[in-house]
Amino acid sequence: MAKWIRWLEELCQADYALVGKKCANWGEMAGLGLPVPPGFALTVEAYEYFFARTGLRRKICAILDDYAPRLEEYRVYLEASQAIREVVEGEELPEEIAAELRRAYAALSLRCGTVAVPVSVRSSGPVSRPGQFETYLNVKGEAMLCRKVVHCWSSTFTAQALAYRRQRNLPLAEEPIAVGVMRLVEARAAGVAFTADPATGATDRIVIEGSWGLGESVVGGRVSPDRFVLAKQDLSLISSRHGEKGTKVVATTGGVEEIAVEAAERARPCLGLEELTYLGRLVLKLEEHFGVPQDVEWAVSATSAFPQNIFLLQTRPIAGLSLGAAANWEPRATSRTPTDHIIDLMLRRVFQSS
C-alpha cells in the first residue's frame, strides 16, 4: 500500500488531518456520488517527511532566526519568504515520494485514457486558509508534477502565510499541508457557487458566479464575472447580471495563460439556464449533506456534453457567514416546532444520514 498517496475513493470528510480539508471534502463529494474529477492526494505526512529528510527544516529555522528580530514590516516578510522559498524549491522531491507519485500519476493517466494527463495541483491544509497557498493548473508529465508538488509545499512560506502565522503565534517554520492532484477540467466556464448569499447571509437563495475559461479568473478576482441568483425553493432564476468577463485563463502547452475574450463572447452569459438549474441542484445536495451553507468551486468542461460536462472541484462552509445566517437553512416540511427543527438537525448532522 502506498505510504503517502490516498486515492480520492479512499477519502472522506473525517480524513482532514491526513489529507487536508480540501481533499477530505473532495473525497466526501465523490462518496456522495457527485461529479468530481478523479485524482489522489499526497498526505500531510509527505510534507513532514520532505522537510525532515532534506534537512530543510533546520535550514528554514536558521533563516527565520536571522529574520525574526526584524519581522515587522511586510517587506522583511517578503525577503524572508524569498530566501526560504529559494532553498525549498532548490530541493528535489525525495525518491521515495517521487516513486509513489509517479506510480499514482501513471495510474491516473491510464484511467483517463492517456499517458500524461493534465492535472491541477492543489494545496490542502488541515486548517482552512483560503487563498494563502498556491494551486497550479494544467500540470503535465511526471517531472513537472514533482516540481509543482515542491512548489505547493514551498507556498506555505509565502510572505502572506508567514505574516499570518506570526500574527497568530503559530509556528513559523512549517505548516504541514497535503497536496491534491486532480485531473484538470478543461473548462469552457468555471466559477463559484454559494448556497447562501455570502454578502447578506440570506439563505433562501443560491448565488452562482462564473466566467469563461478556467476558474482562476473568478477565484482570483481578475474579471467581473456573471452573477446568477436562484431561489432555493424551486431553483428558479431570480436575477442574472452579466459581467464584463474581459479575459479568460486557458490551458496552453506549458501551463496556463490569460487571454482576451472576444467581444461577442463577453456579452453572452457563461452558463445556460439548464446548466444553472443542474448546478443548483448539485450544490444543494452539498448543503444538505454538510448541514451548513457551502462555498463550492465548479467547472463546465469544454469537451463533454450536458450534463456530463458539469464538475464540482471543492467545497467548504462559507467563511465569515454569521451563525444566524448559516443556521437558518431550509427547515423541512416536518419542522413545525423548534423541537422538530432540532430533531431534523440531529438526524442530518449528528447521525449524518438522510
Binding site: A14, P171, A325, I342, I343, L345, V350, S353
Partner: protein, 554 residues
C-alpha cells in the same frame, strides 16, 4: 477456564471488529471478577438496550470484552441505509421527550431507581433466611441491570444533544468543547454531588464550632472517631456524621468497583476530608465562586445568541439549554446511579459472604467479589452443597497477579492510533468520544510542552504535583497541589477545593474532572495518556487549561 462469555477471544473478536479500545477511564487498575462481569454483562447489555430504545439511527451501542480485569470496547455502527432510515422514524419520537421536558424524564428515572434502592438499603442480611437471600440476589442483579439501562438511555440522549450543539458551535462559531467560550457556556451549574460536598463542608464547620479542630488535626484519620466518642461534643459530631452518611454515605472512593468500603462502612475517608478541610488556607468557595460563574455564563450565552438572528433564537436557545444539562447530568447521575447502586451491590455481596462463610461455603465476607453471579446463585440456592473456597482462592491468586499489570495496550487490533481515532469518529458514538475513550490529543510541537492533552477547563496554574494511582490515597492530597491521576472519579469531588489543577491520563470534556474543574474554576487537562507515567509527586508543574498542555518545570 473462562469465567464468562464476554472474555476477549482474538480468534472471534478480531475477525469482524477492527479494533478494541481500552477503557482506561474505568478499568485501570483492573477489576475484580464480579465487577468485570457486571460491566461486560449489565453495562454492555444496557448500551445495546438503550441504543435500541432510543432507536439511535446508526448505532447499536458499544460492544465490550474483558481481558484480565480490564474492559475493552468497540463501536457497532449500523451501515445498512434502509435500516438507518427505519430507525430514524422511531428516533424522532423517542428523543422528543428529552427536548420537550428534559427534567421530567430525568426525575422519572431517578424516582424509579430509588424505588428499587430503598428496600435493598433496608434489607437485613444477618437475619434473612437463605430463601430471602436467594431472592434478594435476583433483586440486586435486577436493580443493577436497570440502573445501567436507565443510565445509558439518559446518557445517549443527553450526549447526542450535546454533540449536536457542539457541532453547530464548532462549525459556525469556530469553538468546540475545548474552547474557553465553550467552557463558559457550560459553567455555573449546581448538581447533586456538589450538594454532598456542601454538606461535608458543613460537618467541617460543625467540628470547628464544637471546638473539635484539635482532635481532628492531632490524630491519624482512623483514630479520630474513637477519640470523638469519648466526649459529649464529640458524640454530637458523630451523630451528625451518621445522619450525613445515611444519605450521602452510599458511595465508595472508587465508583466503578466493589472492592473499596463505602463511606457508611468505613467513614475514614470522610474524616480525612474533614482534616483536609480544617487545614489552614482551605476554603469551600464553590458557592462564593458560583454567582460570578453564572454571570459569566450568561454573558457567554448572550454573546452566542447575539450571533443568531431573532427568528432563530427560539430553537437555538432551547437546544443550548438542553445541551447545558449534559454537565449537570454527568455529575448528578453518578450520585443517583453508580454510587448508590454499587454501594448497595457491595453491601449485598458482603452480606452473602458472611452468611456463606458461616456455612463453610466461602472463607471470607468479600469472597463473592471473586465469583460471578451464577456461582453465587448456586451457593445461595444450596449453601450446604457447595464449597467455593478453592474457586475463590484460585481467583484471588489470578487477581493478585493481573491487577498489578497496569500497562495495558491502549488499542488491540490492526489500526494505528490515528486510524483508530478516525474509526471512532466515523462511528459517531457520543459516549465513547466524550467519556470512556475521549478524543486523542494532538502533539503540538510549537507549544514545546511535556504532555499534550485535551483542554477540560480553562486557566493556567503552577504548583507541585501529587500523583495518585490508587483512590485510597486521595487523602494524601495537600492544599495547593496539582493532582495527577489516571482519571478522577466522582467520589473525589471533596478534594477539589484543595487543588490548583488536575491532569488525567484519560477522559473527555464531559469527564468528571473537567465538569468539576469548571465549577471550581481551576484548569484541567484530560486525556494526556501518560501523565502518571511521566510525572512524579513533588515535581513543579505548569498546566495550561486553555491549550490542554502540561509543562514539567523541574
Amino acid at each position: 477456564m473462562k469465567r464468562h462469555a464476554f472474555e476477549f477471544d482474538p480468534e472471534i473478536d478480531l475477525k469482524r471488529y477492527q479494533v478494541w479500545y481500552l477503557d482506561g477511564s474505568h478499568s485501570i487498575p483492573p477489576w475484580t471478577p464480579m465487577f468485570a462481569w457486571t460491566w461486560c454483562n449489565h453495562l454492555r447489555h444496557a448500551h445495546v438496550w438503550a441504543a435500541g430504545r432510543l432507536s439511535l439511527p446508526n448505532n447499536r451501542g458499544t460492544d465490550w470484552r474483558e481481558i484480565d480485569g480490564c474492559a475493552y470496547c468497540t463501536p457497532t455502527p449500523i451501515t445498512d441505509a434502509a435500516e438507518i432510515r427505519q430507525r430514524e422514524t422511531v428516533f424522532r419520537e423517542r428523543i422528543r421527550p428529552f427536548l420537550e421536558d428534559y427534567d421530567a424524564v430525568w426525575q422519572q428515572a431517578v424516582r424509579e431507581l430509588h424505588g428499587l434502592y430503598d428496600p435493598l438499603k433496608r434489607f437485613d442480611y444477618e437475619e434473612a433466611t437463605f430463601d430471602a437471600l436467594y431472592e434478594n440476589w435476583e433483586d440486586v442483579l435486577a436493580m443493577h441491570r436497570r440502573m445501567w439501562e436507565l443510565h445509558f438511555y439518559l446518557m445517549y440522549a443527553t450526549y447526542t444533544i450535546y454533540t449536536l450543539f457542539e457541532g453547530l458551535c464548532r462549525e459556525l462559531l469556530g469553538i468546540d468543547d475545548t474552547s474557553t467560550l465553550w467552557h463558559r457556556l457550560m459553567q455555573g451549574f449546581d448538581n447533586d454531588l456538589f450538594e454532598a460536598d456542601r454538606k461535608l463542608w458543613e460537618l467541617r464547620l460543625l467540628a470547628e464550632e464544637l471546638g473539635l479542630t484539635e482532635v481532628f488535626l492531632s490524630s491519624p484519620a482512623d483514630q479520630v472517631l474513637p477519640q470523638l466518642r469519648g466526649s459529649a461534643r464529640g458524640r454530637q459530631w458523630v451523630e451528625a456524621l451518621a445522619a450525613y452518611l445515611d444519605i450521602y454515605g452510599w458511595r465508595m472512593p472508587r465508583m466503578m468497583e466493589f472492592n473499596c468500603p463505602s463511606w457508611r462502612e468505613d467513614p475514614t475517608p470522610v474524616i480525612r476530608h474533614i482534616q483536609q478541610f480544617l487545614a489552614p488556607g482551605v476554603s469551600f468557595d464553590l458557592d462564593r465562586k458560583r454567582p460570578a460563574l453564572v454571570e459569566d455564563r450568561q454573558r457567554a450565552e448572550a454573546e452566542v445568541l447575539a450571533r443568531v438572528p431573532p427568528e432563530q433564537r427560539e430553537w437555538f436557545s432551547k437546544l443550548m439549554a438542553v445541551a447545558q444539562k449534559a454537565g449537570v447530568f454527568s455529575e448528578s447521575h453518578d450520585f443517583h446511579f453508580e454510587h448508590q447502586a454499587h454501594a448497595i451491590f457491595r453491601r449485598a455481596l458482603l452480606g452473602y459472604g458472611r452468611r456463606l462463610a458461616a456455612k463453610g461455603c466461602l472463607a471470607a465476607a468479600d469472597d463473592p467479589l471473586f465469583l460471578v453471579p451464577d456461582e453465587l446463585r448456586k451457593a445461595l440456592g444450596a449453601p450446604e452443597y457447595h464449597d467455593l473456597r478453592p474457586v475463590v482462592a484460585a481467583r484471588r491468586k489470578e487477581f493478585a497477579d493481573y491487577s498489578q499489570r497496569l500497562d495495558r495496550p491502549t488499542l488491540i487490533g490492526n489500526l494505528s492510533l490515528e486510524e483508530a481515532t478516525a474509526h471512532m469518529v466515523r462511528a459517531q458514538d457520543s459516549i465513547m468520544m466524550k467519556i470512556t475513550i475521549g478524543e486523542f490529543p494532538q502533539v503540538r510541537p510549537e507549544l514545546a510542552a511535556d504532555l499534550y492533552g485535551i483542554a477540560g477547563s480553562p486557566g493556567v496554574a503552577e504548583g507541585p504535583a501529587r500523583v495518585i494511582l490508587d483512590e485510597r490515597d486521595v487523602g494524601e492530597v495537600q492544599a495547593g497541589e496539582i493532582l495527577v491521576a489516571p482519571i478522577t472519579y466522582s467520589g473525589w469531588t471533596p478534594i477539589f477545593p484543595l487543588l490548583k489543577g488536575v491532569v488525567t491520563d484519560r477522559g473527555g470534556s464531559l469527564a468528571h474532572a473537567a465538569v468539576v474543574g469548571r465549577e471550581y474554576h481551576i484548569p484541567i487537562v484530560v486525556n494526556t495518556l501518560e501523565a502518571t507515567k511521566k510525572i512524579r509527586t513533588g515535581q513543579r508543574l505548569r498546566i495550561d487549561g486553555y491549550q490542554g498542555v502540561v509543562y514539567i518545570l523541574e
